[in-house]
């Protein structure tokens, strides 16, 4: 892929940073806020024409310090792509005026970077907010940028952040409706009580994401009908007491569609999962430590066969699965600080928390749906159960010793009229599968398992391997 479409694209980095701070400002405000991103593109892709972008929010006023962090980015970005200028309008709730600044990051002399522009007085009106306007070049990759921005916004909407309404407008000036985008769409109608936890919201958002086939289409009517068949696992970890990273939370949500019949539009086997990664309520490229946690997790204990993982060009972790029976696997990881910080670098990475939350989500899945998330080992053992049950059932029913048969039937908890081979076989099957599930991933199960016959005296317990037996039995000396 060309570098212009990669996560390192300066336009994307810039937008992501501006949106990130806007979101944090909204979080710090105690009242419901709105975040709006608008992009106006010219009618034709003329060489000198520009994309006019504005990011505005009704959160707390900006202290302007965060924009200094764009320094490095401004210097890396060719002037043709972005001239390093931001027009910032901001006001705090207690401010008497609305302040406007031009911020020129290309300016070498630091004192000359900020230019104060005309101030408007609020006349006792009480509101706060910030608007950042900038112009970006409208090059050939503008379409890719807009596509990315739409996807970015869809992802923000998955979080369903409380007290935050997000809007995206993309307009083409001089052209009628054809290429305009407006998010969220009227059909998105999600009401959450204020009390719903961020984890519950994420679950709701991720479910919709799954039902819309990963935001690749509108919500599929057929899939919606099977919404309740989706299997959900949630896990959370935090270190509120630790001084180092105050109130760092990690939430993991996993949504699984068990088989193609759960959601009939999809493929029979899920080949890969693009993991959704959020920091402080904004989609981000995944951190290396979190990615390492993902690929080093013991997926096999939960029945997942991980073939490999990589980070794609857009900074998303992609996990590749090997011949799985799940039709769709969606994973979201969200790390955030309890209290938003205006000038922070973002939540510090804590791979222990991520690992703990991920494991917790997987265990949640397994606890609620033991049969579906049996470990790979358990699945292999389970394959033998039907044949074994058939053998024992056949043995019992071939007997002409009625007493023996009755005793077997009683032991299985069946009624005297339930002595058909099919019923006996399925009863034995059920019991064995139940035991396999019960003992799945437990250690030392074998040591505690009873022997079929009492052994008089055990000199030693040694395990006979199959390989050993391959030796020619002819000469045992």
């Amino acid at each position: 892929m060309a570098s212009s479409t990669s996560a390192s694209s300066p336009h994307r980095k810039l937008l992501r940073s501006l949106v990130y701070w806007a979101v944090q400002r909204c979080r710090m405000s105690e009242s419901p806020c709105r975040l709006t991103v608008s992009v106006k593109r010219p009618a034709e892709a003329a060489s000198a024409s520009l994309l006019r972008v504005s990011v505005s929010d009704t959160g707390v006023g900006s202290k302007l310090e965060e924009f200094l962090e764009l320094d490095v980015l401004a210097r890396e970005t060719p002037v043709e792509k972005w001239d390093g200028t931001l027009l910032i309008t901001t006001t705090g709730i207690n401010d008497e005026a609305i302040y406007r600044y031009r911020f020129n990051l290309q300016e070498e002399i630091s004192s000359a970077r900020f230019t104060k522009l005309a101030t408007t007085y609020k006349n006792h009106a009480t509101f706060s907010g910030t608007e950042v306007c900038l112009c970006l070049s409208n090059e050939a990759d503008a379409d890719g940028f807009i596509l990315w921005l739409v996807g970015f916004f869809h992802k923000i909407l998955i979080l369903r952040a409380p007290n935050l309404a997000c809007e995206l407008f993309v307009e083409q000036i001089g052209n009628a409706e054809s290429r305009n985008v407006r998010l969220p769409q009227d059909s998105d109608d999600v009401h959450h009580s204020v009390m719903a936890s961020s984890s519950d919201r994420l679950v709701s958002g991720l479910k919709d994401y799954a039902l819309s086939h990963g935001n690749t289409c509108d919500k599929c009517d057929t899939c919606i009908l099977n919404r309740d068949l989706l299997k959900i696992g949630t896990g959370a970890a935090n270190n509120v007491d630790r001084r180092k990273a105050k109130g760092l939370h990690v939430e993991v949500v996993i949504v699984i569609a068990r088989t193609a019949s759960d959601l009939c539009c999809w493929m029979v086997n899920c080949p890969s999962t693009q993991v959704l990664y959020f920091e402080d309520f904004v989609p981000c490229p995944i951190s290396q430590s979190s990615f390492n946690v993902l690929v080093s997790t013991d997926w096999q204990s939960y029945g997942f066969k991980l073939k490999g993982g990589f980070i794609d060009d857009e900074g998303n972790a992609v996990l590749e699965w090997d011949s799985m029976t799940f039709a769709r696997v969606d994973i979201a990881i969200h790390t955030y600080l309890e209290c938003a910080m205006q000038d922070g670098q973002g939540s510090q990475q804590d791979r222990h928390l991520v690992r703990k939350a991920l494991k917790s989500a997987l265990s949640h899945l397994k606890a609620n749906h033991a049969r579906d998330f049996l470990s790979c080992h358990g699945q292999r053992v389970r394959e033998y159960v039907p044949d074994l049950a058939e053998s024992i059932a056949g043995l019992i029913l071939s007997s002409n010793d009625k007493e023996f048969q009755d005793e077997c039937i009683t032991l299985l908890g069946l009624g005297s009229d339930q002595d058909s081979e099919g019923l006996v076989r399925s009863s034995i099957c059920e019991k064995m599968v139940h035991i396999i599930e019960l003992n799945d991933t437990k250690e030392n199960v074998d040591d505690n398992a009873p022997y079929l016959f009492e052994c008089e005296k055990l000199d030693e317990d040694s395990q006979l391997d199959e390989e050993y037996e391959d030796e020619d039995m002819v000469f045992d000396f």
Binding site: S399, I428, D459
Partner: protein, 386 residues
């Protein structure tokens, strides 16, 4: 669960017998009863309200680590026996899950076979299992091993399970066999292939034996057996010739043991190739085997090594010697590290390994086709055996 030893000789075996683990010779109803107990125990564990579990199969370990030698004080027979060390077959371990299921499949078969009062060949059983459960039984070895697992689990002999292994054995010579309600068979007037030994131990057990032979000669290979039979060695040297045409199957060992019990004054001589495999065959007749150690200890016989031996190598032209193969070295190593090899045999084996060579009995034909008979006679008369 030691098998009831009929004679006084049993009392003399002291501590060994307390450690000896044996497979019982049982009637069909008793074996079925044991299988039923197995099923009931398994179901009881499955259905346990407090701690349901899939039982583990404890099988007597059939490895050299679990074998010992027991020597009788009253007779000169020693046998290899297995003791109470177990290996576990568990469904939960992937390495033994298939073998676990195989044991149950064979038990199911045996239960049905015994219920119908039948006796089935190992080979027939293989085809039946292959057609019904191809996932578990794709070769004869799977079946044979699973059968031995059932023997070791239920502690009853293979024939008690309703299964027998066909024998390749044959005998010929100064012996008259008489099956009850059948005609007598005079083994001295048979064709060179001799009388085929049946795999059915019950039939062999009921045979009446009468003989005026002075020796029993166990021959390793079919070709030698036939040569000696054609030459009617037993008319020159009063003897009974017996062969298993290679590795001694249980039936051949059984009948040899019966002969030795019926005619206690007849010494048993072995004629094997000069290589580790030949000695291993001799040892199997002499001590029994480990893989069927729960049963075969009963049929050990005092077999003496007549030839080919180190002293005879001078009779063999240099060109007739062959290199020892890797398999030979493997067997030699295994024998040398075993607990039962007597000193004189150990010395012979060491010589083989040092020379790195092996030789077949047929090499003696370089002196003429009638040399072999004379060689055997001379050795016996001179008492040249170990």
């Amino acid at each position: 669960m030691a098998a009831p030893e009929a004679d006084v000789a049993a009392a003399s075996l002291f501590g060994a017998d307390r450690r000896l683990c044996s497979a019982d010779i049982l009637a069909p109803a008793e074996v079925r009863a044991r299988i039923e107990v197995a099923v009931l125990n398994f179901l009881a564990a499955l259905a346990s309200p407090s701690s349901p579990a899939i039982s583990v199969l404890p099988l007597i370990s059939r490895t050299s680590a679990n074998c010992s030698l027991r020597s009788s004080l009253l007779s000169d027979v020693s046998s290899v026996y297995l003791s109470y060390a177990f290996c576990k077959r568990s469904l939960m371990r992937e390495s033994s899950a298939k073998a676990f299921v195989r044991v149950w499949k064979v038990m199911e078969m045996c239960y049905k076979i015994l219920g119908e009062g039948k006796l089935v060949h190992q080979r027939e059983l293989f085809y039946k299992l292959l057609s019904e459960s191809p996932k578990y039984f794709s070769c004869q070895r799977h079946v044979n091993r699973a059968i031995q697992d059932v023997v070791s689990l239920l502690r009853c002999t293979r024939q008690s399970l309703g299964i027998m292994a066909s024998s390749r054995g044959a005998l010929i010579g100064r012996l008259v066999l008489h099956e009850p309600d059948e005609e007598q068979i005079d083994c001295s007037i048979l064709g060179a292939s001799g009388h085929a030994i049946t795999g059915d131990l019950n039939v062999l057990g009921k045979l009446n034996l009468s003989s005026d032979a002075r020796y029993i000669i166990v021959v390793e290979k079919d070709a030698i057996f036939q040569r000696l039979a054609e030459d009617r060695l037993y008319n020159q040297l009063p003897c009974i010739l017996i062969t298993a045409k290679g590795y001694p199957d249980i039936a051949t060992r059984f009948i040899l043991h019966r002969l030795s019990q019926t005619f206690p004054n007849m010494p048993i001589f072995a004629l094997v190739d000069w290589n580790p495999a030949g000695l291993a065959i001799l040892c199997t007749y002499k001590y029994g085997s480990i893989s069927m150690g729960l049963e075969s200890y009963r049929y050990a016989c005092n077999v003496k090594w007549l030839g080919l031996r180190g002293d005879d190598l001078q009779l063999i032209p240099e060109s007739a010697f062959q290199e020892l193969k890797p398999r030979d070295s493997q067997i030699a190593k295994s024998l040398l590290s075993s607990k039962f090899l007597q000193e004189s045999h150990r010395a012979e084996l060491t010589l083989m390994v040092e020379r790195g060579k092996r030789a077949e009995i047929e090499a003696l034909y370089s002196h003429g086709f009638d040399f072999l008979g004379k060689y055997i006679a001379r050795k016996i008369v001179q008492g040249d055996y170990i």
